[in-house]
Amino acid sequence: MLVQIIAQNIRRHRIGGLTASQRRLASARSGRICCRRQGRKVGSLVVLGSLLVLAGCSGPLSTLDAAGRGAERIATLFWWLAASAILIWVAVIGLTVYAVRLRPEPHSQRAAKLLIIGGGVALPTLVLAGYLVYGLSLLPDLLQPAPPGSLRIAVTGEQWWWRVRYLAPDGEAVELANELRLPVGEPVEVLLDSPDVIHSFWIPSLAGKLDMIPGRVNRMALEPTKTGVFQGACAEYCGTAHALMRFYVAVEEKEKFARWLARQKQPAQAAAGPLARRGQELFLANGCGACHAIRGTPAEGVIGPDLTHVGGRLSLGAGILPNEADDFLRWMARTEDLKPGVHMPSFGMLPTQHLRALAAYLDGLE
C-alpha cells in the first residue's frame, strides 16, 4: 500500500513526461521562477520523505513489524523511546519559542535556576533511570533460554553464508544452509557460533541480534508469533561480502513445518530427465563435490553449503538471488561478480550447455 502511494507520488512529479529535474531545467531556461510551485514541490518532498521513512517501518527486515516475542518487546520499547523523544523535543522547541518570541525579557534568577536544575539535572536523571529500569526489567525474559525439550538449531556463521543444522533429540543433525524454517508459536533454541571471524545473527522481525563468536556458543531463544516469510542478515562487519550475507526465515504452521523437516532429512531425490542426469554427472566431474555435499550421492564436501535440497530453498547465495534454474546458472557463471570475495570459484568457463544441465539438476533438488 505505502509503496503504491510513493509510486503515485513519484509519478505525479513527472507531469507531461518530464522528470522533476527536466522541469527545473526548463523553468530555469525560460527565466521563470514560480514560488508557489516551488512551495508545493517542497511540500510533496516532505510528504514523500516521511512516507519513505514510514515505509522503512514495515517489511521483512523490520523489528517494528514484529512477528516474534522478542521483537514485540523491543518494538514496544522503541515506541516509548520515540514518544518521549518527541515530547522532549516539543518541550525544548516550545521553551525556545517562549524565550525568543513570547517573553524575550529577562526572567527571575530563581526561575532560571529551577529550570536548569530541574530540567537539566533532575529530569534527565529520572527519565534515564525510568528507562533503565524498564529496559532492565525486559531483560530476564528476553534472555530466558528456550525450555528444555525445545527444537534446537545450530547456526554457524561462515564467510559469507550460514550453515544450519537442525539437531534432533537423538543427537542426529540435519545439515542445511542459508534458510531457517520455524514452527509458529513454539520456542526454539538457536545455538550460534563461528569458525573464524565474528558475525552477528539478526532476524529483526523475530528477536534482537546476537554475535557469533569463534570459540564460544551463544544461545538465543526465538518464538515466532506469526506465520510468514521474513529475512535475516549478518549485523557485524565480517569481510568483503558482509552486506551479501542474508537469509530467509519461513515461519509455518506446525504440521507444514514437520513435513518440511522430514523431507530435509531425506537424501536427495534422483535426478529426473536426461538434462538433470547430465547435470549430476557434471557436478561430480567438475569437482563441485569437493566443497558441497548432496546426501545420497558421492558428493560429500563440507566447505560450502549443503545442496541436498537446494532447489527447494527460498533463495540462492545466502539470500541474494531468487531460486530459479536461471539463477543457478547465473550463480555458477558469475559467482565472483554476484558476490565479491566469495569462497567459491566462478565456473563461467564451462560451456553454457553444461551450466544449463547443472542448473536443471540443482533446481530439481527440492
Partner: protein, 131 residues
C-alpha cells in the same frame, strides 16, 4: 572561615587535582569489580544457567561502599566549595576562588559518579541469573 582554614592558609596550600578524580575513580572501580565478579561467578562457579545469588549480594555491598565513598568525597568538596563568604561564580584569579572552584567541580563530579554507580548497581536488582 569554615573548616578552620584561614585565607592565608589557603594561599599557602598547594592545591591539587587528586580529589577531583576520586569519585569517577570509585565509579570505574565499582564497575570493574561488578563486571569481573559476575564474569568469574558465571564462568567458574555456577555455569551459564546458574543463579547470580551471592554475586548479587556482592554487587549490593560494592554499591553501598562505593556510594559511601563518593558521599564522603562529595561532602569534603561541598565544604571547599562553600569556603569563605563569596558565592558563585568562581571567576577570580585568587587562591580562595581556586579552592572554591575545585570544590565545586569535585562536587558535581561526585554527583555524576553517584548516579552512574547507582545505575550500574541497579542491574543486580533485575538480573537474577547468568543467562
Amino acid at each position: 572561615m569554615q573548616g578552620g582554614l584561614t585565607m592565608e592558609r589557603v594561599a599557602e596550600k598547594n592545591e591539587n587535582l587528586w580529589l577531583m578524580v576520586v569519585s569517577p575513580g570509585i565509579w570505574a572501580a565499582h564497575f570493574l569489580l561488578c563486571y569481573s565478579t559476575t564474569a568469574v561467578w558465571c564462568a567458574k562457579v555456577v555455569g551459564r544457567d546458574g543463579p547470580l545469588g551471592e554475586a548479587r549480594m556482592a554487587i549490593a555491598i560494592y554499591t553501598v561502599l562505593a556510594l559511601a565513598g563518593i558521599g564522603i568525597v562529595g561532602w569534603i568538596a561541598a565544604r571547599r566549595q562553600s569556603y569563605g563568604s563569596e558565592t558563585v561564580p568562581q571567576a577570580f584569579d585568587t587562591p580562595g576562588e581556586r579552592h572554591r572552584f575545585l570544590g565545586f567541580v569535585t562536587l558535581l563530579l561526585s554527583a555524576l559518579s553517584a548516579v552512574a554507580t547507582a545505575y550500574v548497581g541497579l542491574t543486580a536488582l533485575f538480573i537474577q541469573t547468568c543467562h
